[in-house]
């Protein structure tokens, strides 16, 4: 984690830049894995001038800038998609029927992408709609247009399984509201040579619009899979209505509005995949997922994260002789990290090793209700004296005091904290999510030959987590073997230099793509 103390400088502005990073809800206003990665990328290419377009929900949801902005970050603009905005006049508009047929065709394609007439060009469909966002298919036409109303009514009758038209109407409205704002952002963006988005979703859609508008290459690097994460969120969301009666309800089907939201994010994700020239995943499973979601296989590749080993290597000399009986979870206190699983495991660990302690190092303010739940769980398990919430910590100070880095998450991509721990000589116990098994046990034969740099356990299985932790902490020889394997693995496969080298090639292709088009 390389965030500095919060500071409030004016946002830098420039006339032009080399790469525009399109970021949704991350850098520079939120600290965390993806933000640290973005910071690494910007500082790793001092010869390139970066612009950042931050997309947030509402201004009040974010605090001050969390990072010291590097000098080559020359331009930052922040936009809020669900901010209260002015609405066009309340009168019905006549929309050009021919123009609206493009909207219908695009909807049909997103509804059934595998079942479209031969010869359909998704890029052309998307372009035909987005290019008209300023006039024939402007926001006013969506809100008050006769064609939009007619299409909405037809779609409701044809497809909606929920009886409430009112809820259908407002769901469609809320869903589409940010699209025109994104188009305006794309139109007004300063000239850049390439776009780089770090997720699909709204930022990815902005990338697709920018590429269409400015004719520059688009690179997509996904840490998690945005569409999948949204799907999980929506599955559990309580704000989505379901008005079906007992007789109308099919138990095996989600409520229609839930499905509509999921399909919306799948649709805009597809638009981003289809527009991206290079699509990068952190590891193979995610790359395959991208292909399944609409990315063209030949455009995809994997580049794992890397860390600045030189920053962490000296910490190994600072470690005490005996392994400290301290299990440390490093990460934000949010449900996806399943901090409660860690706390439950601590109960078992302390039953077996009464001197053990659990530390939770990470901000608690992102989901205060969840942090409160964790504290209640600690109290109910009688662990008040054994578990400490440390808040945000400098890893260079924290890691020498820690015996094990624990990751109890239910979803991860390629967590940097494991690599940082390895570089500092701290083995890890992690749940089997994302690429954690690859990081701990190795990917190919050569990697596996290094040995395990910790243990991998099942999801939400506190007993297994505790047993693995106790096994390592109570056996200094096993701990040392895991520590050595971690150091070796991170040096060989996950250095920042390796990652930056691969990204340099990506950026060079993106910049030459532009050159070949303009020539």
């Amino acid at each position: 984690m390389s965030a500095s103390e919060p500071s409030v400088p004016p946002l830098p502005r420039a006339e032009s830049a080399d790469i525009a990073l399109l970021l949704e809800g991350t850098y520079p206003y939120i600290s965390g894995g993806v933000s640290s990665w973005v910071h690494q990328i910007i500082t790793g290419f001092p010869d390139l001038r970066f612009a950042v377009v931050f997309l947030g929900s509402r201004p009040e949801d974010y605090g001050p800038i969390r990072y010291e902005l590097p000098p080559n970050l020359v331009h930052v603009e922040a936009h809020y998609l669900f901010d209260a905005a002015e609405r066009p006049a309340q009168r019905t508009l006549r929309t050009d029927q021919a123009a609206f047929t493009h909207v219908k065709a695009l909807h049909r394609y997103w509804q059934e992408p595998d079942n479209v007439p031969a010869g359909t060009d998704p890029q052309a469909l998307f372009g035909a709609v987005v290019d008209r966002f300023d006039d024939q298919l402007g926001e006013a036409h969506f809100l008050r247009g006769d064609q939009a109303w007619q299409h909405l009514c037809e779609q409701y009758e044809e497809r909606c399984t929920d009886p409430s038209f009112v809820d259908y109407f407002w769901t469609v409205r809320t869903m589409h509201a940010p699209l025109w704002k994104l188009k305006r952002i794309a139109d007004k963006l300063i000239p850049v040579k390439a776009f780089h988005t770090v997720s699909t979703g709204y930022a990815g859609l902005l990338g697709a619009m920018c590429k269409r508008r400015h004719g520059r290459s688009l690179v997509l690097s996904e840490h998690g899979i945005y569409t999948k994460e949204r799907k999980i969120d929506l599955f559990g969301a309580r704000w989505i209505a379901d008005n079906r009666s007992v007789l109308q309800r099919d138990l095996t089907e989600l409520s229609y509005f839930r499905e509509l939201w999921i399909r919306f994010f799948q649709g805009i994700g597809r638009a981003c995949y289809e527009s991206s020239d290079q699509i990068i995943a952190l590891y193979e499973a995610n790359r395959r997922r991208q292909v399944a979601d609409g990315a063209r296989g030949e455009r995809t590749s994997t580049i794992p994260n890397g860390i600045d080993i030189a920053r962490f290597s000296p910490l190994r000399a600072l470690r005490p002789d005996a392994v400290p009986p301290v299990l440390c979870l490093i990460g934000r206190v949010v449900p996806i990290k399943d901090v409660k699983n860690f706390i439950r495991a601590l109960r078992s660990v302390i039953n077996q090793m009464p001197e053990a302690e659990g530390w939770i190092a990470g901000p608690e303010n992102e989901d205060p209700a969840y942090a409160e739940e964790c504290k209640l769980l600690i109290a109910s398990l009688g662990l008040q004296d054994r578990v400490r919430f440390l808040g945000f910590q400098r890893l260079t100070e924290l890691l020498p005091k820690v015996g094990l880095v624990v990751l109890s998450s239910i979803s991860e991509a390629l967590p940097l904290v494991l690599l940082e721990g390895f570089a500092a000589g701290v083995p890890a116990v992690s749940t089997d999510v994302g690429s954690c098994r690859q990081l701990i046990e190795g990917l190919d034969d050569a990697d596996r030959a290094i040995g395990a740099s910790g243990r991998v356990v099942g999801l939400a299985d506190p007993k297994a987590l505790a047993d693995a932790a106790v096994e390592l902490l109570s056996d200094p020889a096993a701990w040392q073997r895991a520590s050595d394997a971690g150091v070796e693995r991170v040096h060989r496969y996950y250095s920042l230099e390796l990652m930056l080298g691969r990204y340099r090639a990506v950026y060079e292709r993106a910049l030459t793509w532009q050159a070949s088009v303009s020539s």
Partner: protein, 342 residues
């Protein structure tokens, strides 16, 4: 009723009768009689008309004609009968005939367009969910179908899915389990706060104290019963449930229901001896046999003591227990060979 009008009708009728009976009986006199009689009937009809309830006054001409006809064609008797009818109607209570209910059309019976049998190609949901080679969309639908089931029923299946290769299923299963545990934990912390508040009050009644302790015992036990906690956390939760239940019993020693709950907790702990003691004390505290015997039978079953199971089950009246339990009771009633495992 206007008495003068009625008197006038009577006088006219009497006059008409006098015309008929006194003097010559010829056509002229008959004509005169009919004329006066008709006049009397008309006065009577007009007199009675306002006395009728509103709903009987329409249409006015027809009603007047009816009154007139009744009086005219049944001389004298008609007049008396009409008078009596009106008097009776005024004296008896008014029945509510004008109801607010309307006959509604029967609702349309809506059926899902799909046939449920085809949904999972004849596979059970359990089979489908645990089959990692089945198509992902089909498995997702199967997961949707069990999402609304309590953890007691779906918990083990959801837990199996936590190690599923398909991440979406894994995450959804986790979310479902977590939501149920979260809801119970929230209630536990709310009740704990109330207990703390109550303990600080010097004048709190032991009854409300016992009630809170009981509630906390039930909630903690629910976490165990629904299999939402595992391993050491399960042991700890169960220990807390027992601690609260025992504290509640100390404050309210005569609560048979609580004793039975305590017995179930000891049973979950595997301590059948204490569970047995608790159940016997629960019966002494007045808990009906039907709520104690099934647990005693379960303990005998765990020991493999089939004869005792039968004896205990035969003491239960199948008509007084739940249908599921009743089926078990009937099974043991029917079982003939003693000392053999069924």
């Amino acid at each position: 009723m206007n008495p003068l009008q009625f008197l006038l009708a009577l006088v006219l009728e009497a006059g008409a009768a006098a015309l008929l009976w006194m003097g010559e009986r010829d056509v002229v006199r008959l004509g005169a009689y009919l004329g006066v009689h008709a006049l009397a009937c008309a006065v009577l009809a007009v007199t009675l008309y306002p006395l009728l309830p509103a709903r009987l006054r329409r249409p006015p001409l027809a009603v007047l004609a009816l009154l007139f006809s009744l009086a005219f064609f049944i001389p004298f008797l008609g007049l008396v009968a009409l008078l009596l009818a009106v008097l009776v109607m005024r004296m008896l209570p008014v029945g509510e005939l004008d109801t607010h209910f309307r006959l509604a059309a029967p609702p349309e019976f809506l059926l899902s367009v799909r046939e449920p049998a085809r949904l999972f190609r004849g596979l059970s949901i359990r089979q489908l969910l645990t089959d990692v080679h089945a198509a992902a969309p089909l498995r997702t639908r199967a997961l949707n179908a069990i999402a609304s089931k309590p953890a007691r029923i779906a918990g083990d299946l959801l837990r199996k899915l936590l190690s599923d290769p398909l991440e979406d299923l894994r995450l959804v299963a986790y979310g479902l389990l977590d939501t149920q545990e979260k809801a119970l934990r929230a209630r536990i912390s709310e009740q704990s706060a109330r207990l703390e508040h109550l303990s600080a009050e010097p004048h709190a009644s032991p009854a409300s104290h016992a009630e809170l302790l009981r509630h906390l015992a039930e909630l903690n036990f629910e976490l165990v019963y629904q299999s939402l906690v595992q391993g050491d956390v399960r042991d700890l939760t169960l220990a807390q449930a027992i601690e609260h239940a025992e504290a509640a019993i100390r404050l309210d020693p005569g609560d048979g229901g609580l004793r039975q709950l305590l017995a179930r907790m000891h049973l979950e702990q595997g301590d059948t001896d204490r569970a047995c003691d608790d159940l016997i004390r629960a019966t002494e505290d007045g808990l009906p046999d039907n709520r104690v015997l099934p647990y005693l039978a379960e303990m005998a079953y765990r020991r493999g003591d089939w004869a005792s199971v039968r004896t205990l089950m035969q003491r239960i009246d199948p008509l007084t227990v739940t249908p599921r339990m009743a089926a078990l009771v009937r099974y043991w009633h029917a079982s003939q060979t003693a000392g053999e495992r069924p």
